[in-house]
Amino acid sequence: IPGRHSYAKYNNWDKIVAWTEKMVDKHPEMVSRIKIGSTFEDNPLYILKIGKKDERRKSVFMDCGIHAQEWISPAFCQWFVYQAAKSYGKNKIMTKILDRMNFYVLPVFNVDGYIWSWTQDRMWKKNRSKNHNSKCVGTDLNRNFNVSWHSSPNTDDPCQDTYRGPAPESEKETKAVADFIRSHLKSIRAYISFHSYSQMLLFPYGYTLKLPPNHEDLTKVARIGTDVLSTRYETQYIYGPIASTAYPTSGSSLDWAYSLGIKHTFAFELRDKGRFGFLLPESRIKSTCKETMLAVKFIAKYILRHTS
């Protein structure tokens, strides 16, 4: 018995699994669960699909918890699924969105790492795969995607927190997510990844200071998205390309999804700006999720209107 799930608290993996079942039971016409693969430690990777059965509709792919210690991120994905399912038929905007598009939500990307951060090391970031010829464990899944994977400043040292893995998509988790996105590419119009912390809304590229072809469009969405987000609690976000707004990275999911043809890809770096860092208190979960929801709904509406 995993115990009581709460949207106002951080939930361990067992509670999240039980919650996915509950969401499907409660909203069978709106929510379905898809197992897209399993992790290094053989835990299931679940995606919740929100929306009607029609596969041809536009869709948005969202993932949370690619980095284990960023607990606010899975908390947001759970909040999003709950709010979307609950408000369908009640909230005008959400109803309109869900009548026309689907969401694929991966509540926890790095399941093994998330479990480890609950049970052994609160500051754990990577997954839990064993590394050949090293006593150090884990790969940074957000450097394991097949985009500019070979370029510096990635590290080849498995003992580093930012280790990119032995090859692109070497990790079962990365491969499962990449396969799922590739197989649903026809419908996916936007990809959104949720991280913490530092209050940013980022878009490609991370591996170069060059700007993507539709950077004006992405900048506009990010500017309005952060404006909308701030209307609730006046939380200030900055926005821009990863490389110049945060710092250069390669092998990131955002750049990879963009290179695959999903031309609206964003990463949220949620609260806060360092007072708590990765240890955002539970008392701030709800407000963080509420304001983020506004921005995500805006992005979804924009995708509906401006993509073919």
């Binding site: 106002a8 530092s198 208190p281 539970e282 979960i285």
Partner: protein, 94 residues
Amino acid sequence: IAPVHFDREKVVRVKPQDENQVSIMKNLAKDNELDFWYPDAINHVAANMTVDFRVSGKEFQSIQSALDQNRMHYEILIDNLQEEIEKQFDVKEA
């Protein structure tokens, strides 16, 4: 395996002002076990960037004196990480 404890571990914020201060940071990272929170690795640290890192209570003293010696301003964001970990569960079960 016993879970990791973070008693007396600190999270420190530094903003290196120029390349010289960046290289001081890099040397500190070489000689000490620093866990970079932002950016996520020492090779991303640049001048005028806000840098947050975690350091053990034991190593903090040498970090502090190096920063003082080089007149680098720093701020202690978290003084005892273990306390902060416990404090994050501040919502009671419904």
